[in-house]
Every structure is written in structure tokens, then in C-alpha cells.
């Protein structure tokens, strides 16, 4: 195939598009990360590694990185567990199943910014419905977004609510595509529902699970809309993730060089964790189907 020159001819347009749309911005990002770029004064000057050295001493950025990793693990895990549960339930025939599936889709239909605005109102401690419900149940009021220890968890809840339907869709499609004979054989052999799920269904579903979880894992690293709309990284910087902290430095402090360096670091962290995850996902997945 490699000796066929037509191969290169056909892949060349795609390679050029990728080079322009992805390669050029990445190269520019690395270039900016070594510059002091003051847009206000029109000053661009090389400063070597100074931006990276500054990042190493920036505890807020380091906290944002750790918070992002926590965010990814918690959200993706919750998405998977809840999505799988819903898919297993929806896979059984019952009255109202289709309506159930339709209702499950609603959160995914909202654009993230709109969902963020909606939940900002929901979380309002004084007039929002959540605290009103807690009050009606004689439960203590919760400072959803105004507590520095709770804010990031409240944001994670929104992300889980919004994207569990996606996980449900993928896993449900996977369940529907599974061959029924192994499942029937297991039931005939006397296996209960849980054992069928644990020892037959899930192993067969593994390739689909790895694809769904991998995509969500990589996508969640880039989260921005929910934390920004809900808290703008506050209160007191306690809910900053990598993307919001970089945005703050780029577009509020107008430090393009420094924020480019942060973006390089964020990109390398995302790439590292995603690569590790994908390596285990696909070697494991290949092993199961071999």
C-alpha cells in the first residue's frame, strides 16, 4: 500500500487540513508560551522559560490541575455507573420504557451555557428551588456555590446530570447489539440477573465501555462552561479548573504569554493521562476480543 503513490495523493488534503487547523495553532501556542505578550502596550518579547518558572510557583494553578484531575475521575465514574444503571433498566421491557428514555435525554439537549444558567438559579440559596425543597423537608440549607469546599462538587453534579444521558445512549446501544445466546444460556444454567450482568453482559460490553469512557475522559479534561457560568472559578478561586484559570489569565489579566504557557502544561497533562488511559483501554479491549 505504501508503494502506491495514489495513497499519498488521497491522504494529502486531510494531512494539510490537520496541519493548518491543528498544527499551526499548537506551534503558535508553544511560541507564545516563551514570550511576554502585552496586548495593551503592543509589546511582544522573548523571555525563554520565565513563564514556566512562574507557573511552577503558582499554587493556584497547581491546585487547578489537581482539581481538574479530581473532577475528571469523579464525573466520569459517576457518568459510567449511572449511565450503565439506566441502560440496564431501559434494556428491560416495561410500560413507559420509551417515555423513560425520552426524559433521560433532556439534560443532554441543553447547551452547556444554558444548563449552567439554569443550575445557577437552581442553586440560589435564597430563591432557588433546591433550598426551598430542603426547607420544605425541614433539612438544613446548603451553600451550593458559596462554600469554597462545596462549590466544585456542585459543579460536578451539573456535569454528571448533563452527560450521563450520553453514557446511557452509548451503553444502551451496546447492550442492544449484544448476542442474546450467551445471556439465554446463562439464564438456563440458573444464573440470576446480577450474575448474568456481572459475568456475561459486562465482559461482552467491555469494548463499548472503554470507547465511551475514553471519549468522556478526554472530553471532561476540557470542561469550561459549567465552572465558568456557575462560579467563574470562585468563590475565592476554590472551583478553578485548568481551563477557567487559563481563561482568567488570558482574557481578564490579558497575560497571553503566561496563559499560553499554562495551556501548554494543561495540554501535556491531558495528553499524558489520556494516553495512559487509552493504552490500557485498547490493549485490554483487544485482549478480550482476541
Amino acid at each position: 500500500m505504501l508503494r502506491n503513490r495514489k495513497f499519498y495523493f488521497f491522504v494529502l488534503p486531510a494531512v494539510l487540513v490537520i496541519a493548518v487547523l491543528i498544527g499551526f495553532p499548537v506551534v503558535k501556542l508553544f511560541w507564545l508560551s516563551g514570550m511576554r505578550y502585552d496586548l495593551m502596550k503592543g509589546v511582544i518579547e522573548p523571555i525563554g522559560w520565565a513563564n514556566f518558572q512562574r507557573i511552577l510557583g503558582d499554587t493556584e494553578f497547581l491546585h487547578a490541575i489537581l482539581r481538574t484531575l479530581l473532577y475528571v475521575v469523579v464525573v466520569v465514574t459517576a457518568n459510567f455507573v449511572l449511565g450503565l444503571t439506566m441502560a440496564v433498566v431501559a434494556d428491560r421491557p416495561f410500560k413507559g420504557n420509551r417515555l423513560f428514555q425520552l426524559i433521560l435525554m433532556f439534560p443532554m439537549l441543553l447547551i452547556p451555557t444554558a444548563a449552567g444558567v439554569l443550575w445557577r438559579f437552581m442553586y440560589n440559596p435564597t430563591i432557588g428551588p433546591l433550598n426551598s425543597l430542603l426547607k420544605a423537608l425541614s433539612l438544613p440549607q446548603v451553600a451550593w456555590l458559596s462554600s469554597s469546599s462545596l462549590a466544585v462538587w456542585s459543579i460536578m453534579l451539573v456535569d454528571i446530570w448533563a452527560w450521563t444521558p450520553y453514557m446511557f445512549l452509548v451503553l444502551y446501544a451496546g447492550l442492544k447489539a449484544l448476542p442474546q445466546e450467551p445471556l439465554e444460556a446463562a439464564r438456563i444454567d440458573g444464573a440470576g440477573s446480577f450474575k448474568v450482568l456481572r459475568y456475561v453482559t459486562l465482559p461482552m460490553l467491555r469494548p463499548v465501555v472503554f470507547v465511551a469512557v475514553s471519549l468522556k475522559f478526554i472530553d471532561t479534561f476540557r470542561v469550561f462552561a459549567y465552572p465558568w457560568v456557575l462560579t467563574e472559578g470562585g468563590p475565592g478561586g476554590s472551583s478553578h479548573v485548568m481551563s477557567t484559570y487559563i481563561y482568567l489569565n488570558a482574557f481578564r489579566n490579558l497575560k497571553y504569554g503566561l496563559s499560553s504557557a499554562m495551556a501548554v502544561v494543561a495540554m501535556l497533562i491531558s495528553l499524558t493521562f489520556s494516553s495512559i488511559f487509552l493504552y490500557f483501554a485498547f490493549t485490554r479491549g483487544r485482549g478480550e476480543t482476541a
Binding site: L39, I127, S147, G234, G236, A250, F251
Partner: protein, 463 residues
């Protein structure tokens, strides 16, 4: 053949006519979602308002506007004909603008001195660089308070207040503006109105609610700095040094006192809910409009049309306004004023059309009609920078009495230097931590002062 030629001639004629009648299009920057400019855009829907000129909006969220404008100007792209900005941005944008006075001088229908004299003096100064008027102010205001007028004027409430505190509940002056004599009186009124109305142990009516989140929370702090006499620029003195930096220990107590007041409202006096740290001014006004705050303050001229609408009055009653001058603690106390303006980009391809647009928007006639329409339709309100228009609007009740009265006081603004965004961010995050009770007023003073000093040192203002 002949038919074909005839059709071609008719088509060519049509194209010529359409081309001749085509409006000149100008690209104008606008603050996305900003209700105060919506009325103007609605008026421009009538082609008779600005004949021959089509205005194309280029909208950006507030936080992104300056960056977007500066990028295009630095690149020389010519993307915008008319630039928009607060007064604090004008020194950054001014080098890229053709001074408005150049256009006015060339306009035989406008007298330059009359044009300049039509604006409030400080507002004119805010939009001038080295004495030359570069941009045109179009709308602005100061931070004011709203209070539930029916509650304050209830005879039973007044009697109960007098019985508890020994003096009368404050009432508005002849301009319809409520003034508290000092912070102590304000606190007593806030405490009086903070109450659990349904007996479930939770506060249902807060004495005072204001924004605490980042930007608008920071504005409340900056206003108090001006009222404490930190002249001329609150965050910097005339030597471009932080007034509460390491060289000025005599000012430390004042800043700590300002910080302590904000913190104590929540944690000591409990007249303000802790969740204000997540409130922008749109959240704070929602709490007020739901009747759960006896008093609230921020850049509230925006909502004057809304609070005077029949629906809101039916819900929470009439709204009165109060001045924040109870925070004044120095002879040189002033009010933090923000007046937005437009400037004509020097790389515009349509300078005359851009000028006609700015001239139309800033004229007294347009300002009057715009304010009236906004008030009657519940739109966004502002204080017109035109003195006559502002006085007329105040007399008609179209702008909050406290906004107009405050505009006649000493108005101040922040330092108009490129480092301003970073200077403001230096205290905003710390202010949130202060409201969360995570840092003390002393730590707030210390860390904000150090950060501001470091920013100015890094920027090369001094060693």
C-alpha cells in the same frame, strides 16, 4: 436577442439602483446582553433615525470586549468602525481613535465648545486624553441602593423602629433620596429589617443584599475606597503607588476597617446572607425583586425601569433609592462613577458614517427619547452624560433619584493605565475570601497591597 438585451438592461438598471440606495454599513462594538443599549438598537430599527447608515453589531461579553478590541486594533484589521468601552479603557483605546473633536470641528452644525459643555465635567475628563476629547460618553452611572419603600413607610414599622432605637427611621430628602447619617445607622436599619417572617428559624427577609462575586463585588470595595478619600484613583495614588502599600502604614487601618465592615455584615451582624459571594448584581437584584431584601445596592440604575413596572410594584411595592454616602469618611470622599463611551477607530473606512452614528446617539434629543422609551418599556436605564438630558430624566422620574443626585457630587474613576485589569483582579479574589471569612481584614489589606505593589513594580513604574 432583443428580448435578451432588454432583460439584461433592466437587470443592470436594478442593480445600479439597489447599489445606489445601499446603506453605508458600520461595525459597532457592543456589550453582549447589556440591556441599557437595547433601547438604542431598537430605535435604530426605524430607518428614519439614521438614514443611509446601517449599523452592524459586534457583540462581546464584557470580560472579553477590551481584549477583542485591542487585538483587532493592534493587528490593524479595521474590523470595527466604532469602539465601545468604559472610561477606564479609554487611555488604552485612545491611541487607536481619531478624537471626536476633529469631527465636531469639521461639522458646521455643531459648536465644539457647546458640545463639550453639554457633558458633566468629570465625564468629559474621563473621555479626554491630554486635554483632548477622544471619545464620546453615552451612558453611565454610580452605585446606588434600592429599598422597599412601602416597608420603610409603614407606620407600624416606623413606630417599632423608633421604640427600639430611639430615633425615627430615615426618610428621603427633597430629591427623593434616602441618606443614612453613618454606617452605624445603616447597620441598625439593616438589623431591624433582618427577620424570620414565618417562624421557621431561617431568615426570610435580609436587611441588605449586594453582589459579592468577583467584578461587581470588587466594585463595592472600590467605591468605599473612593469614599475613604483614597485620591485620585482608589487603587493608586498620584505616585502610582498603592495607598495602603508598605510605605503608607497610616492608611492600613482605613482599609482594614472597610474590609471588616464588608465581612461583619455577613458574619457579625448577620444582615447579609453568606451566599452573596456567588452573587453578581443580576443575582442580588433577583433577591431584592423577590422581596427577600429590604435594601440592596449595586449599579442599579440598570433596573430602574424594571422596578417601576406594574408587575414588580404589584409584587414588592414601590422602590426608593438611597445613596452610599454613609461610607464617606474623608473630606475628599467621592463616588466611583463609570461612564461608557464610543470612539471612532482611526482605521475605519467610514469615518463620516461612524461620526454620524455617535453624534445621533449622544445628542440630547436622542438621549431623552431613549431614556423615556427604556423607562416606559421596562428596559435598561442609565444616567445620560448630557447634563440637560439627565436633569430632565431625573425630573420625569426616568432615572433613579440617587443616581442623578450622586452624579452631581465629586465623581472619581480608577487609574486609566494598561495595568488596570490586573490591579482590579488583585483584590477581587481576596475580597471573595474575605466574604467567605477565610481571611482576616488584616490579611486582606496585606496581600492586596503587596500584590498591587508587585504589579506596578513589574510594570516598571518604579523599582
Amino acid at each position: 436577442m432583443r428580448r435578451g438585451m432588454l432583460i439584461a438592461l433592466v437587470l443592470a438598471g436594478c442593480i445600479f439602483l439597489v447599489g445606489s440606495a445601499a446603506d453605508e454599513t458600520i461595525d459597532v462594538v457592543n456589550n453582549q446582553g447589556w440591556t441599557v443599549s437595547d433601547t438604542g438598537w431598537a430605535m435604530l430599527g426605524d430607518p428614519n433615525e439614521l438614514p443611509g447608515i446601517e449599523v452592524r453589531l459586534n457583540e462581546f461579553p464584557f470580560a472579553d470586549m477590551l481584549g477583542a478590541e485591542t487585538r483587532e486594533l493592534q493587528l490593524g484589521s479595521g474590523a470595527f468602525d466604532v469602539l465601545m468601552g468604559t472610561e477606564a479603557w479609554m487611555p488604552v483605546l485612545a491611541p487607536f481613535m481619531t478624537p471626536i473633536t476633529d469631527f465636531v470641528e469639521a461639522d458646521p452644525t455643531v459648536d465644539l465648545q457647546e458640545f463639550k459643555d453639554s457633558f458633566f465635567p468629570l465625564v468629559l475628563e474621563q473621555h479626554s486624553t491630554d486635554g483632548i476629547m477622544t471619545s464620546t460618553p453615552i451612558m453611565g452611572g454610580v452605585q446606588i441602593g434600592y429599598y422597599l419603600k412601602d416597608l420603610f413607610e409603614d407606620p407600624a414599622e416606623q413606630a417599632a423602629f423608633k421604640a427600639e432605637y430611639g430615633y425615627d427611621l430615615p426618610t428621603p430628602n427633597e430629591n427623593g433620596v434616602l441618606h443614612f447619617s453613618n454606617e452605624g445607622q445603616f447597620l441598625e436599619v439593616a438589623q431591624f429589617f433582618t427577620r424570620d417572617t414565618d417562624g421557621d428559624g431561617a431568615i426570610d427577609l435580609w436587611g441588605y443584599v449586594c453582589p459579592g462575586q468577583w467584578g461587581q463585588g470588587g466594585c463595592m470595595f472600590e467605591d468605599r475606597l473612593f469614599r475613604a478619600g483614597f485620591y485620585p484613583w482608589a487603587l493608586l495614588n498620584e505616585e502610582y503607588k498603592c495607598p495602603w502599600g508598605s510605605e503608607y502604614p497610616e492608611n492600613w487601618g482605613v482599609v482594614e476597617s472597610i474590609a471588616r465592615f464588608a465581612q461583619d455584615l455577613i458574619w457579625k451582624y448577620k444582615v447579609t446572607p453568606p451566599e452573596i459571594v456567588q452573587y453578581a448584581y443580576t443575582d442580588a437584584i433577583l433577591v431584592y425583586l423577590s422581596g427577600k431584601a429590604a435594601m440592596s445596592a449595586s449599579w442599579y440604575h440598570d433596573f430602574w425601569g424594571q422596578v417601576n413596572s406594574d408587575e414588580v410594584i404589584a409584587d414588592i411595592g414601590e422602590t426608593g433609592t438611597f445613596s452610599l454616602d454613609f461610607h464617606n469618611r474623608a473630606p475628599r470622599a467621592g463616588t466611583f462613577a463609570g461612564f461608557w463611551g464610543w470612539g471612532i477607530a482611526s482605521d475605519t473606512d467610514s469615518p463620516q458614517a461612524a461620526y454620524e452614528f455617535v453624534k445621533w446617539w449622544s445628542s440630547e434629543d436622542t438621549q431623552r427619547r431613549m431614556i423615556e422609551k427604556a423607562f416606559l418599556e421596562g428596559g435598561g436605564i442609565y444616567v445620560p452624560p448630557n447634563i440637560n438630558a439627565a436633569a430632565w430624566a431625573a425630573g420625569m422620574g426616568y432615572i433613579p433619584p440617587a443616581s442623578y443626585e450622586s452624579t452631581l457630587d465629586d465623581l472619581y474613576t480608577l487609574p486609566m493605565i494598561p495595568e488596570l485589569p490586573e490591579l482590579r483582579n488583585a483584590h477581587r479574589g481576596l475580597h471573595e475570601q474575605l466574604l467567605l471569612n477565610e481571611i482576616t481584614p488584616i490579611e486582606f489589606r496585606q496581600r492586596s497591597g503587596e500584590t498591587i505593589e508587585q504589579i506596578m513594580t513589574d510594570a516598571g513604574y518604579y523599582d
